[in-house]
Symmetry: C2
Subunit: 337 residues, 2 copies
């Protein structure tokens, strides 16, 4: 029995790094009007996608994204041995109902907006650990389902604060394969729950920034990689406000802010789109990864990417009960080798 | 690169079966008045456990259960490299807030009442795969938080139907260790989402029974074990109504019902306790496993146990939107070797 493969307390390095064999990104109308329209597989023009409710639309979006990733890789559904997925809805129903249609065994996850990295990290462990040959890792969010569940129904037209973020209507799915060619997940760092006492749910970026920096710092320590190792370090959805907090914390922690650091929430939309601090939601980092970022990796414009998806783990109930916002961040390193 | 270790599409067998090195079960007052009082580690006599809200109480219960499992095994929190856990609350806040206090990295799971088996199966893969030496797997539920979230606030005194189940106030936690002595997780079968069209959330047992039978049938096929291999096959929380459905489906599927089959939801309470069809909630199978069942294994009264935790994956929103109830079941085999 060998010693565990992990390096440091929270990080694992893969012996046979699983391959990102195919992927898909599907987004809603607003995301399709942003800077990355040409990099998404499908932009739907109606938030209901032909369904009677937004929740059903969200589930359909995830289902179609996973199916698209399967078909883009020339796989059949039966080739996928396990679906790891999650979303923001209560009881992750977008995921469960999508899995019902796809027919693949499900491991349901909840990591709020950190879910894409959680599913990739876990999926990579299950493949590299020798348990499965091929799994899907995915996550999604929908602006209108999230707003009415976490804040106010969008029909009410409640005024937004400058620090608030815009939940992306988007989904991303990756097929991880033991064999094949493509970028690989080489290592991952799983996050601790960090809560520095921020309680304003209209400023989730500030709540999540310390968790992101904690995970990034741990990643570099555990893996003994220099801070300029990556071509791009991208956090999940800190937005402009949270990204500024993260950059301050980088200095405090001795990680000098790099020109190679950015945030999916800042990148996803154009400044003119009225999203205040930026994008958020599980789908934000999921669609940025499975759209523009992996495209850049295939083109060789990026070779070493660290995706650090971030999640704010509160619920409306904990907010009403006066709790602060616990946050988490999981990091996965994706590399051309 | 070797072929995957799994046997069949949905099942994995462990090369070095992880050890259940320690465990703890904590329950509420009603569960402490049932048949298994002497087998639980702590029975609290007040649903609020000194907290201001039931949600905070639920999180405290999970936190204390995990800490108790850690200390019973003579571990420190820092010895535990990963916490895999989930609960029924929106955004699994009982889990996230518990993890905030424990300080261990978190992989948040949502499998409704199947969570205990999901966390054990995943935890065993992470340990046997060589990624971690020691992880905790846990789940919890609280009667009053679940009732007000999924059905009606208990203060309303709404009449219950005979097929309804009583969400257990309970938590269970296991420390899985790569080394050491104790019962071991030898194999696991991960479930598909099954939905045969049942839509009555006051009869979750009937919705979950087909998923339980599907997973059990797949388990025996994949692992090529005879149906009388186990001393006890125990489903999570089908209750009396669901267990009767499962027994009919066993006959239909050619798995003759065995005297060694039972259900945690049927076992947890005494008939006199007014729980209608029986117990439910993530905590139901979690406390039965970590209380009486593992005690019987240590005493040698049980040597081969198949825990098949079952989850109903609906939400109040999907119910209101006219959806039927998707269900899932994950199985873990725990054996004295």
């Amino acid at each position: 029995m060998e010693a565990a493969k992990k390096r440091g307390m929270q990080s694992v390095a893969f012996e046979d790094p699983p391959v990102l064999a195919s992927w898909a990104a599907v987004v809603g109308p607003k995301e399709g009007q942003g800077p990355w329209a040409k990099d998404f597989d499908w932009i739907f023009d109606d938030y209901s996608i032909g369904e009677k409710t937004w929740e059903k639309a969200e589930s359909k979006m995830l289902r179609e994204t996973v199916k698209l990733a399967i078909s883009k890789g020339n796989y059949q559904s039966r080739d996928i041995e396990m679906m790891l997925a999650g979303d923001l809805l209560n009881q992750i129903v977008a995921t469960s109902f999508a899995a019902r249609e796809i027919g693949v065994p499900l491991l349901g996850l909840y990591g709020a907006c950190s879910t894409m990295a959680e599913s990739l990290a876990l999926g990579a462990m299950l493949v590299d650990g020798g348990f499965f040959n091929r799994v899907s890792a995915s996550a999604c969010s929908h602006h209108h389902t999230a707003e009415r569940q976490f804040r106010f129904p969008t029909e009410q037209g409640i005024q937004r604060t400058p620090s608030s973020q815009w939940t992306a209507t988007a989904a991303g799915a990756v097929i991880l394969d033991r064999l094949g060619s493509g970028p690989r997940i080489t290592c991952a760092t799983l996050g601790r729950v960090i809560d520095l006492g921020q309680s304003d749910s209209a400023d989730m970026g500030s709540a999540m920034a310390p968790a992101a920096v904690d995970t990034i710092k741990t990643h570099f320590q555990d893996l003994k990689r220099p801070v300029d190792y990556y071509d791009l370090i991208v956090t999940g959805d800190l937005g402009k406000v949270g990204m500024a907090v993260a950059q301050q914390l980088f200095v405090k922690e001795g990680i000098v802010p790099q020109p190679n650091y950015s945030d999916c929430g800042v990148l996803l939309y154009d400044d003119s789109q009225g999203v205040d601090s930026g994008g958020s939601g599980c789908g934000c980092s999921a669609c940025m990864l499975c759209g523009p970022l992996l495209k850049k990796m295939v083109e060789g414009k990026l070779n070493r990417l660290l995706l650090v998806a971030t999640g704010a783990l509160m619920s409306p109930t904990t907010q009403h009960q006066g709790e602060t916002i616990p946050a988490i961040a999981h990091a996965v390193a994706i590399e051309n080798q």
